[in-house]
Symmetry: C2
Subunit: 207 residues, 2 copies
DNA sequence: TCTGCCATTAACAGAATTGTTAAACAAATT
DNA sequence: AATTTGTTTAACAATTCTGTTAATGGCAGA
């Protein structure tokens, strides 16, 4: 059993190092030797376990996407049904932000490496749509009834999602600039943005 | 004179090809031979004119940043002073969006290639602050008086700028996904987002 | 204890990519 | 026409990076 744990440790070490390297430098900027070094193994080991750089990259994408989807579904599930539509949107948005802030390079990585590539995009679209399909129809219904009951100022689902994702992604990305541009810590900046995003969405949904 | 024009054409051709290559693939993903091919010259010419890939990259950054700054200052200058604060913010935001939509890979390029690198970031910060310094103090005053006169719902300058830049950058980035995710053209999506961004900002500024 | 399997290492091979050089060439100047 | 200057080309050198291989060592089960 000890050897299996050892094996997992090596694999895990490589995956962790690879995640860091790929997310911060992108596929072409990442170096397999650098990954191996970070993981504390010879670079032959990396090829032994993952064959090629491409295959290793795909593993990283898989886990990253899985985590992303999980974070959204979790946040959505953990909702209090007694809350108003507005409160629920804000709750999901904030949960989503917390996840994304933990991996702030993720959004720009997605935009730079995944979305432009047709194959990579297809890959994650399939995964996402099978995992998020039911959530989407659920959302659609909830939004429709909110629109019809005149609870909120009318808005389409794509624009609402776009608003939330946009504000959160940009918060994560720009948080890396906080200390460089404004003289505040990243945490302070994120707290400010969180508040501001909430104001924006609430005002948007109010009639 | 003909030879000078020729020289400019070659240089320009390389610069144009390099801009496309660097913006879409990033520094490490870009290939100097691919740039040379696109420009229709041998790849030795590229080195003859620009010495190294790094130097060529710096030239691209220079022009890209210059264009970005110009677009903002132009948009700000072209303002109608008789407009309300809210209307002016919207006008500048829309002008900025039009520029950015012409180069939709620009935001993710900046986030992936420029901002994480301390040297590159320093470079553009200097340029930007010297060019945008006066604009910043101007903005500060305008916003302060708007805040004090209770024209608008109170907001800090960093958050206002962050809102505008965020919404525009995200619109540009996500516009590349419009046809892939929703069944609409990029132009339709941008038009929708433009409208939505305007709604968001106006509601944000209203008391 | 022997055998076979798996993990690991070090050295190396191969490919891709950047950068150089020497020679040819073209245009302008004397 | 000869010289000079700067441009262009093709071949090549150098490096960097990915991927392979053959040899080593340990450990489990026969």
């Amino acid at each position: 059993m000890a050897e299996k744990e050892d094996k997992m440790n090596v694999e895990k070490a490589i995956l962790d190092a690879a995640t860091e390297e790929f997310l911060s430098k992108g596929f072409s900027g990442a170096r397999t030797v650098a990954i191996a070094e970070k993981a504390g193994v010879t670079h032959a080991m990396l090829h032994y376990y993952f064959r090629t750089k491409e295959k290793l990259f795909e593993c990283i994408i898989d886990t990253v996407i899985k985590e992303l989807i999980d974070s959204v579904t979790e946040a959505y599930k953990r909702q209090d049904a007694s809350l108003s539509f507005e409160d629920r949107v804000v709750a999901v948005m904030n949960a989503h932000l917390d996840f994304i802030i933990a991996k702030p390079q993720l959004p720009s990585f997605l935009f730079m490496e995944i979305f432009p590539s047709t194959e990579n995009f297809k890959l994650i679209k399939e995964k996402a749509s099978s995992a998020l399909g039911s959530l989407n129809t659920q959302l659609k219904e909830t939004l429709e009834s909110a629109n019809n009951n005149e609870e909120i100022d009318n808005i389409s689902l794509p624009m609402l999602i776009s608003d939330v994702v946009t504000l959160n992604a940009a918060t994560a990305i720009s948080s890396q600039l906080a200390t460089k541009l404004l003289n505040i810590t990243k945490e302070e900046y994120v707290a400010m943005r969180k508040q501001e995003n909430e104001i924006l969405i609430r005002k948007r949904l109010k009639k």
